[in-house]
């Protein structure tokens, strides 16, 4: 509120904007779009393309500028009068002249350019109205395109030398592996064959390049912008929680772009998020339920697979097997919540864990007190940020960008515990602190102005998490998966006497419990998986599915709606980017619950009745269980077939508790 406002006139309309605002931004605020190339709200002003020229008949001091001025670098002044191309013939002519000059060396190969259809140069050239070029000379030629990294191609003929890409590399991510070089008409984006543009943020330059000079190998010649269906979503690759835009064509995702969320990712993303198009590649996908028979998986119908799963997990008719539930960290919060209630209400177990790695009781206790304390914005105002067993660039890249910004533009000091020297820390000008975390943290004398960012590897060093929880500094736990925080919030952690992942796997090893898992990483669990009866909701062939006894395929994250909660505990909306045919984990669990409940209901019936049903020609499944009886994998909840319950051998030795622990 204390912000000082400046009032000026743009195209005969009065506007008040904060002091220090550039004319181009002030104009935007009243809906006046001034053409631009080098200007980008996320980058420092440069004023070099000269496309944004406006007439300033009065600079606020009664005197005007004789020639049009760059609106992207000049800041507003009280009483200033600005005339853009909308009201000034002079500004319009100047812009048209610049546009003509920009195009004299441009190849105009739009028909084979990825950018065509969404190209600021195309769009603004048409706005400039002077459509015919008077240039009839010889154009500048370059070899095209040349790779500047394994993922990016550079076409120097199309480049308008706006320096957005090079400024991004230097200012925003601190990886200046590309830079303008040469001079005059030979100026070009320079790169080194020996040191390619290998930044984990490099893909952003394709998005901010105002022409088709930078293209991605992945998307090249893949689609036209007007053929794409765009969906805003949240990235599922890490806990940073970037807004993304997913573009698909013919039901296949063609590219992903950073979405805009000023509070989280600004308008950047990392390459992991950008270039991971399908969370599971098509050839890796599991599309039908499967059952293990004689050691190998075979396709099964939904009813058969569901009843096999129900058999093993619920202990057959009337049974109630002991089960451990491992959800992993890749679920939407909705799916995680479904697991949490399924575990407690259907399987009657508190043994549920989203973690699939070494954990400790100390960590479990630490995570139970998880509450939102820190936001991205806080990182910029903190005095010190201490990274404990957390590598921002790898674990949550957007956190790195915020830290980099605060370090280079502000006064933030970064410290790192449990870190090896490396480029990330050099870029952050970080001080690497040695010693045990416990001791080191105490010696730092942290105050409420400091922030601790702790990663999941901290669980491996006893004392670290306990120490953090009683220090005065604010802290945030930043896990490595996009669904970890959502799972934590949804209750995928033992709340009372349940087993954690360690206990669950040990018990499974000892043959005491069965397992229900999502598509978790295998880590050191092979032994337990081989021993225990395992039902896995999975979507990719090479993972957990290779060890499960019953595999129930699920929809991919890009095929469903939901929520991913980032490390700040901020909810991000996930929208279905492409249509899918498989049910979500929550839907599969609902079906499984129905089958299990049908089983349990059946214990109240008698076998004779069951035989009767079986033989009765007028049998209506609906009347019994509320289900229909599809032959094919159904779109809706699947019933146990009449045949299924009569095949108890589908469950193996682990379900010995069958019938012994019948509740109610």
């Amino acid at each position: 509120m204390s912000e000082e406002l400046v009032t000026l006139t743009i195209d005969d309309r009065e506007v008040s904007v904060p002091k220090g605002t550039t004319i181009i931004r002030a104009a935007e605020s009243i809906g006046v779009y001034i053409p631009r190339f080098c200007d980008h709200p996320g980058l420092a002003p440069r004023g070099s393309c000269r496309q944004c020229l406006v007439e300033i008949p009065d600079a606020g001091n009664g005197r005007g500028f004789p020639a049009p001025q760059a609106s992207c670098t000049m800041t507003v002044a009280p009483g200033m009068i600005v005339k853009t191309q909308m009201t000034s013939a002079k500004a319009k002519a100047a812009q048209a002249g610049i546009m003509e000059l920009l195009l004299i060396n441009h190849p105009l190969d739009c028909p084979i350019c990825d950018k065509a259809g969404e190209c600021p140069l195309q769009n603004q050239a048409l706005l400039a109205e002077r459509v015919e070029s008077r240039f009839d000379g010889v154009k500048r030629r370059y070899e095209k395109p040349v790779p500047i990294s394994s993922q990016l191609l550079l076409d120097r003929e199309r480049c308008v030398l706006c320096a957005r890409c090079t400024r991004f590399a230097e200012e925003i991510v601190g990886d200046p592996f590309i830079s303008l070089c040469e001079r005059g008409t030979h100026q070009q984006v320079g790169f080194s064959g020996e040191q390619p543009f290998e930044s984990i943020f490099a893909g952003n330059v394709v998005q901010i390049c105002p022409v088709g000079a930078l293209t991605s190998v992945q998307y090249r010649f893949n689609a036209r912008p007007f053929d794409l269906v765009s969906v805003d979503t949240t990235c599922e690759q890490c806990a940073a929680g970037c807004a993304l835009r997913t573009d698909s064509r013919h039901g296949t995702i063609r590219r992903r772009l950073a979405g805009v969320n000023p509070e989280v990712n600004g308008e950047w993303s990392c390459d992991k998020g950008r270039f991971t198009l399908a969370s599971v590649p098509a050839e890796q996908r599991i599309t039908t339920p499967q059952i293990r028979e004689n050691g190998t998986l075979r396709p099964a119908s939904w009813p058969e697979a569901l009843s096999a799963a129900a058999d093993g997990l619920a202990g057959g008719y009337g049974g109630d097997a002991k089960v451990g539930v491992l959800t992993g960290g890749n679920l939407t919060k909705e799916n995680a919540a479904a697991y949490a209630s399924f575990a407690r209400e259907v399987l009657h177990t508190d043994s549920i864990d989203f973690r699939t790695r070494q954990v400790s009781d100390e960590e479990t206790a630490f995570l139970r007190q998880q509450a939102p304390q820190v936001t991205y914005a806080d990182l910029e105002t903190a005095a010190r940020v201490v990274c404990v067993d957390f590598d921002p660039e790898v674990d949550a890249p957007i956190v790195f960008l915020r830290l980099f910004k605060a370090v280079t533009k502000g006064k933030l000091q970064v410290l790192a515990l449990g870190a090896q020297p490396g480029r990330t820390w050099e870029k952050l000008r970080a001080e690497l602190v040695s010693g045990t975390p416990k001791q080191a943290l105490k010696e730092l004398d942290l105050t409420v102005d400091d922030i601790i960012l702790v990663g999941e590897r901290a669980a491996a060093t006893p004392g670290t998490l306990d120490t953090i929880s009683f220090l005065r500094a604010k802290w945030a736990w930043i896990p490595s998966h996009a669904g970890d925080i959502g799972a934590l919030e949804a209750g995928c952690l033992p709340q009372a006497d349940g087993l954690t992942v360690n206990g669950i796997l040990n018990a499974a090893m000892d043959g005491e419990i069965a397992l229900l898992t999502d598509d978790i990483e295998l880590f050191a669990a092979e032994g337990a998986l081989a021993k225990a009866f395992t039902v896995s909701l999975a979507n990719h062939k090479e993972g957990i599915a290779t060890a499960a006894d019953v595999v129930l395929p699920t929809a991919l994250v890009e095929e469903q709606a939901g929520t991913l909660v980032n490390w700040e505990h901020r909810a991000g909306v996930v929208n279905p980017a492409i249509p899918g045919t498989l049910p979500t984990a929550a839907e599969v669990l609902a079906r499984l619950q129905a089958v299990i409940e049908a089983y349990r209901a059946y214990t109240r019936e008698d076998d004779a009745d069951f035989e009767d049903y079986e033989d009765d020609d007028d049998y209506e499944a609906d009347e019994v269980s509320g289900f229909e009886r599809p032959e094919e994998p159904p779109a809706a909840a699947a019933p146990p077939t009449a045949a299924a319950p009569s095949e108890p051998e589908a469950s193996d030795a682990e379900t010995t508790s069958e019938g012994e622990e019948v509740p109610a």
Partner: protein, 435 residues
Amino acid sequence: MTELLTPILSANWGVDKSWTLKSYLSFDGFEGAKKALKLKPEEVLEIVKESGLRGRGGAGFPTGTKWSFVPQDNPNPKYLVVNADESEPGTCKDMPLLLASPHTLLEGIVIASYAIHCHTAFVYVRGEVAHVARRLQAAVAELYAAGWLGKDIQGSGFDLDVVVHSGAGAYICGEETALLDSLEGKRGQPRLRPPFPAVAGLYASPTVINNVESISSVPCILRNGAEWFSAMGTEKSKGFTIYSLSGHVAKPGQYEAPLGTTFAQLLECAGGMRAGHELKFFTPGGSSTPILTPADVDIPMDYEGMVGAGTMLGTKALQVFDETTSIVRTTLRWSEFYAHESCGKCTPCREGTGWLVQLLKRLEAGQGHEGDVDKLLSVCDDINGLSFCALAGGAVACVTSAVKHFREEFELGYTTPAWEAFPYELSTAWAGGAK
């Protein structure tokens, strides 16, 4: 006519080994600095202000006023940077000065640094002139040995280090902000202003940038007083300056005279045009200043006089051309220079200068298209005033002023090669006086 000349900076150029400290001292060398060190810095600044000295690097900004912009409450170090990048076509005054009398500049640096509380001064020398840089470096070494540089200069308590830095050969590095970037080890391209160098220049610290001749003019002002200096020259253009005459004159060279001397007077000093030829056109201050013609020879060559004639005093580099010269060829050569030297940062200059060259090339070859001359002017119009720095303005000025005065010669380029209308061998030095 030679009584018109005022050899002050150039007084010692002719003597044996004029570049040594010993020789320099015999010409009252360092008397100005001695005086200055006895005064308060503010008093020195006041004297320079009073003298009316204006920048000799092109723009003519009052030197004392520039120094007074340095915010003394800024905690950062203050820097003086001397611009010895001299690369403007025709301009050739700073290099001879540095070769003949490097100590004149160095004495000026001591005084100027003292006035602005600077303890580290830089001289940025254009890359192509290694011999000049070497001579300057030798002179700097002499001064350290003699106690005129380093700690506690001459017992005054004032410390000053001087760093001589060679550029890599780029005209744009004469533009003061590009110079600063280059000096900092970056690519030499102009910076966005504000912030202005006086507030955040070299290493983001307050910085004064002055031309070699501006700083070299300071010692004699301290030695002889502000009044002595301002008694020379005209009302708003005080003092003397070095005019550099080159081209088709009998005796090309440096002519030091009061500001306001006319071209006719200077030409007379230089022995007139080469025998048997007459003046066709000339530049008053390098190729970036619009050309003048025989009609303008009696206009006083000072800042105001030249602005009045629609041009600029610039670097006072008078390139003189006689009637054997093709204006189209001359303009093309200049344009090629600008296209080659454009730093490439901004669109109009990067793209426009190249287009001008393409148009001028076909006019030179007699292959111009009908309408090319208007196109030339129109392209100039799309560049002029719209570029990031002043380089493009100069690139355009030589074209528009040439077309203004000699349009029919450009139009001849639709049909006739320039080398047919103006056989090139006639304008060479070895063509003799024969017409």
